[in-house]
């Protein structure tokens, strides 16, 4: 065989191999779900639904893709790189101003888990004192939530540096303050036996939906949305009832976080997920008034220029059964 034929045969084989996914089952609706971080308890219910076969029972084949590696999940959804993705509600709002049209169908947290973590020794009393203190502040600049804090307390007097999710720098610098998910970094510190103090952003009046499952407006049929949301809801119920059952398998996907830290994180998620609202309306459901409040706050802080109707940003696929 001539070399050119070998090359053509190889290319054909590669194309066939990449086109046919041997794991996909016939009759199941494929959904690619892009997470915005590595596997952690904040995605526990989604993994529980996957591990327990709840998605398959609902006729769905959900591929959970971890950590976009710096790419913006909202852009990945809009471009069809994935069918659904985890983004923060405020980013969804900001994305809309740039011409994106995504809609949130499920909220993981009813209250935002965003906070600022400092070393407990000599820690200030309030978030304002942290924000206006000295030392280094590691945050993801550009996130609306920090723009809100800037608008509330004035630009931080600390030297701002990028937040990369690691804790090594925090451990080595007692003056460093860094952003955190109260369910993630503080439990890691507990394991390391490093006393920390956490200031939750929701305590100062900004409580956005910080992890919503978003889709393209016309990207998923209503009956598929309903099945998808129901499966996630069941997954979250199971996970919150017994996180220790699922955390070892999640930890296997993210060796950087120990099972013990995941169990602690899941415990801290309880008040953020199991609220009077979710008890009444179902886990994952969102309150349009809360979206409106987020829009108002971000508009008055100058983060967004328009004030869209919350109905264009969120929908509840289980509307016929719950709110």
């Amino acid at each position: 065989m001539k070399p050119i034929r070998w090359i053509l045969a190889l290319v054909t084989c590669l194309m066939v191999a990449t086109c046919n996914d041997p794991t996909s089952a016939p009759g199941l609706v494929q959904i690619r779900l892009q997470l915005n971080w590595v596997p952690e308890p904040e995605f526990g219910g989604i993994y529980a639904a996957e591990f327990d076969g709840l998605f398959r029972e609902a006729g769905l084949e959900v591929e959970i893709i971890k950590d976009p590696g710096g790419a913006a999940v909202q852009q990945m959804i809009a471009q069809g790189v994935c069918d659904a993705g985890i983004v923060s509600g405020d980013q969804l709002l900001q994305f809309r101003e740039q011409g994106g049209d995504l809609v949130a169908i499920y909220s993981v947290f009813d209250h935002t888990p965003y906070g600022i973590m400092v070393h407990a020794a000599g820690a200030p009393e309030t978030l304002k004192e942290v924000w206006q203190g000295t030392g280094i502040l590691a945050i993801e600049s550009g996130l609306p939530i920090w723009k809100f804090v800037d608008a509330t307390y004035g630009a931080s007097t600390r030297k701002q540096v990028p937040y990369g999710g690691a804790i090594a720098q925090f451990l080595s610098d007692p003056t460093l303050a860094q952003q955190c998910f109260v369910t993630s970094e503080p439990p890691l510190m507990d394991i390391q036996k490093v006393p920390v103090k956490v200031f939750s952003v929701s305590d100062i009046g900004f409580d956005p939906y910080s992890a919503v499952v978003a889709i393209r407006r016309d990207g998923m049929k209503p009956e598929v949305q309903k099945k998808f949301v129901e499966a996630m809801q069941k997954g979250w119920q199971r996970y919150m009832a017994n996180p220790a059952q699922y955390n070892p398998r999640i930890a296997a996907l993210n060796p950087a976080m120990a099972v013990e830290a995941m169990n602690l994180g899941a415990k801290r998620m309880q008040p953020l997920l199991l609220t009077p609202w979710t008890a009444e309306h179902g886990m994952g459901s969102m309150n349009p008034a809360r979206w409106q409040a987020m829009i108002d706050v971000l508009h008055s802080a100058g983060v967004i220029k328009t004030r869209p109707d919350p109905a264009v940003l969120m929908q509840w696929p289980l509307a016929s059964t719950k709110p």
Partner: protein, 260 residues
């Protein structure tokens, strides 16, 4: 004047044609600005955010120039040392080669731990990626020294240092200048990657920080503006290195003489 025009005109025409096609393409296909903003929108956004972008450009330029300067110094000295001794060369050159293989993204967080946030870390990142072309080109230049001339220096009992200063270094200059041209662009890339993890945010945020924060805000127009400015820094540095190279070589080396 006519010669300058002849040199500048073709790339400018190509650039204008590309930008026009881009602008028309965005408008014809009605592409959303988060996906691909038009050049005009990028220009408008850059104008609106000029103070932030110019401050960022200055910070990135400082890191790139500092890192590049360090890379040139270390690269020329190390390359000269390796060129002077076969044993050193055999022992150290493969290790120096590893510098080129270092995945900067992976070690940038370590630079923060070792050197702290800010300029020191970003300069180090720029230096790491820029050092190898300088070192390799210096070594190449040293190896290419005419043996006959070496013998003449030996006949006149010239010391090692005198031989290096008067023969090997000048003889290596064309090669070093070429290495420095390559390193100039790499230094800017290294600085921006370093800034992704170690740059200070705020009013004086470098371009790397502007890029990542604009990505989070889905401000693709600002990402393009910042990337364009970092390319300008690289282009500027390349131009300065080329100009200095020409000054050093214009009287005696064929490449510069031809340009004259």
């Amino acid at each position: 004047m006519k010669r300058t025009l002849t040199t500048m005109l073709p790339p400018v025409l190509v650039l204008v044609a590309l930008l026009t096609a881009w602008q028309i393409g965005v408008q014809v296909w009605n592409l959303p600005r988060y996906l691909l903003p038009s050049p005009w929108l990028i220009l408008c956004s850059a104008w609106q955010e000029q103070s932030r972008l110019l401050a960022g450009m200055l910070q990135t330029a400082m890191a790139a120039v500092g890192g590049f300067g360090l890379a040139v110094f270390i690269g020329v000295v190390t390359g000269s040392l390796l060129g002077a001794s076969q044993r050193l060369q055999k022992g150290f050159y493969p290790i120096a080669l590893l510098l080129q293989m270092v995945p900067l993204v992976a070690i940038a967080p370590l630079l923060v731990i070792w050197l702290g946030y800010g300029l020191r870390s970003t300069m180090a990142a720029a230096c790491i990626v820029a050092i190898f072309p300088v070192l390799a080109s210096t070594l190449d230049g040293m190896r290419g020294t005419d043996p006959g001339l070496r013998e003449i220096f030996a006949i006149h009992h010239a010391g090692r240092l005198a031989r290096w200063w008067k023969l090997e270094l000048p003889g290596s200059l064309p090669s070093i200048v070429t290495g420095c041209r390559v390193a100039a662009g790499l230094a800017v890339i290294g600085a921006v990657v370093g800034e992704f993890v170690s740059g200070y945010a705020g009013d004086q945020a470098p371009l790397g920080i502007v890029i990542v924060s604009s990505m989070r805000e889905a401000r693709t127009d600002l990402v393009f503006a910042a990337v364009g400015l970092s390319a300008c820094v690289g282009f500027l540095l390349f131009g300065i290195v080329s100009g200095l190279g020409w000054l050093l070589l214009r009287r005696w080396h064929a490449s510069a003489v031809q340009e004259n």
